[in-house]
Symmetry: C2
Subunit: 317 residues, 2 copies
Amino acid sequence: MNSNQVKILDCTIRDGGLVNNWDFSVDFVRDTYEALNNAGVDYMEIGYKNSPKLLDADGCGPWRFCDDDFIREVIPEKKNTKLSAIVDIGRVDPSECAPRSESPFDMIRVACYLKDIDKGLDLINQFHNLGYETSLNIMAVSNSINSHLVEALEKIEHSVVDVLYVVDSFGSLFPKDIAYLVKLFKEHAPSKRLGIHTHNNLQMAFANTLEGIELGVEFLDTSVYGMGRGAGNCQTELVVGHLTASRYDMKPLLKLIDDRFVPLSKEVEWGYNTAYALTGLFNEHPRSAIAMRKTPEKDQFYPFFNKLTSVETHSDI
Amino acid sequence: MNSNQVKILDCTIRDGGLVNNWDFSVDFVRDTYEALNNAGVDYMEIGYKNSPKLLDADGCGPWRFCDDDFIREVIPEKKNTKLSAIVDIGRVDPSECAPRSESPFDMIRVACYLKDIDKGLDLINQFHNLGYETSLNIMAVSNSINSHLVEALEKIEHSVVDVLYVVDSFGSLFPKDIAYLVKLFKEHAPSKRLGIHTHNNLQMAFANTLEGIELGVEFLDTSVYGMGRGAGNCQTELVVGHLTASRYDMKPLLKLIDDRFVPLSKEVEWGYNTAYALTGLFNEHPRSAIAMRKTPEKDQFYPFFNKLTSVETHSDI
C-alpha cells in the first residue's frame, strides 16, 4: 500500500493511561500533541469520553472523561492532527455530547465486545448523527467463535460506521492471523475502511501493523515509546520512521521520547516482558501478568507459568 | 512447515558473549546446556572456536576459544542437544582441530562477509573433511549488491556446506525482506538446507523467524531471554513456546531465565531500545548504538538520530 493512504492514530494518552491511571499533566499532553502534529501523525486519541454521571472518577486523571471545555483549554488551537476519544458501552451518554461542529473532537471510537455489538452500533449511530467520524473496535476477537464474528460483521456492513478495527486485545495474534482476520473482515464488511490496534505481548505489534498495511488496512493505532496497557502498543516512532510518506517526520517524536517518555518509563512500567509473552501465548487477558509485575515476584516467570496452567486456574474448563 | 522439521540452534553463549565479553561461569553455561537439553532445543552454540595463536584473549572468557578439552570438562556427558561453535575467517586454523569423532562439537559454523566467500568455503571444506556438520553464515546481506550475492550463492550451491544462513546482522530486515532473500537463496542454492539468524533492532526477530519457518527455513537461531549483541536475538523461549512439536518444552527455559538470565540482565544490557531501532532503520551496524548506550547520554535518542544523519558522519558518501 502507498503509505500516503494510511492514517496513524496515536493512542498514547488513552491506552497509556491504563498504565498510570491517566495521571498525565496538561503540559505533558500538550507537548505530546505538538510533537504528534509536527511528526505528521494524523489523529491523536486524547483519552476516554466517559460521562462523570456513569463512571466514578476514582482517582483517575481528566483524560478518562475528556470534557470538551477542558480539552479546548489544553489544545486551544487545533492544528493538522485531528482529535479522537474512545467510549465504552454504558459509560457514555451521547445526548450529553455536543455535535462535532461545537466540539474539539473529530472522531469518536466505540470499543465493545462481540456480545455488545448491537449496543455498540447504536452508539455509533448516535455519534455519526452528531457529525463525528466513527470507528468500531471489537475487542478480544481472538476469543470469538467465527460464526459470531461473521454475524457481527454483516451487521457492521449495514451500519453507518466509517472504520472497523481489527483489535488484538491480548497481543496473541501473529501476522498470519492478521491476514486471516483482514480477509474475513473484507469479505463480510467490504464497504468499510479497516484499522488495526495491536499489543506487543509477543513482540508482534509492529510486525502485525506492517502486515495490516500490506493488506490495505488504513488506520494504524500506535503509541509513543509503545506506552500502553501491559506489553504496550506498536511504537508510533517506528511506524513514522518506516513509512515513506513525506508528511511523516520521526524527529519530533524522538525529542518527545527523550524529554517526556524516557523519564516516565522510569516511574511506571510498560512494554514487553516474558510474563506478557505467556499471557499472549495462552491467548489470555494480560491482567494476571499486570498484577504479577506489581509483586516482589515480578521476575519469576516459571511459577507464573505454573499458575497460568494450573488446574485451579482453569477449574472452569 | 511442520515444526517437527525445524531445528532450534540456541546461540546465547556465543552471541550473548558479545555483550559481556564471554564472562560466563562454567556453572552458568552448564545450567544453560541442561535447560536447553530439557527444553528439546536441538543445538547449543557454546562459543567461538578461535585459535589462541591467531587471536589475543584480551580479557575474553574461554567461550571465545572453546578448547575441546575445556568443553569436555564443562559438559562431560553430552545429551540430545548437539554442540556447535562458530569460526571467523583468519582466526582459526583447522589443522589444529580434532576430527568430529574426537571432539565434543557436532557442527562448525563459518561466519563471513560476502567478499570473503572463497575463504569461507575453504574453511567449510576443511571442517567438512573433519566430519563436522557445517553452516555458512553470510553476514550483512542487507548491505550487499544483489549480483554479488547471486554469484556467491552459486558457489555455495556447488560446495559441501550443509546449511546456508540468512543473517540479518543489522536487524534491519522485515518479513517481506526475509521472504525475498529466502526465495533468492532457494533459487540459486536449491540443494542447501536454510537457516535464519535475526536481530531485534526493529522488534522483528521473532516475526522474521516465523516468516522463515513458513517458507521452509529449517535452522532457527535463537537466544535465551534474547541475549545477544545490541538489540539481541529472537528469544528461544518464544520459539519453543510457539512451536507445536512435542519435543519442545518451555518450562526449563523459564526456570533458567528466572535463575540466571534475569539477574544477568540487571548487570549488563541487551535488547530492544530506540537507539538500536535507529541503526536498524538506517541499515547500519549497531556499534554506534552500543557505544552510545554506555555513555551518560544513553537515553538521548534525538541527538543520536542527528549524529547518525549528520554530514560529518556520512562524509564518505
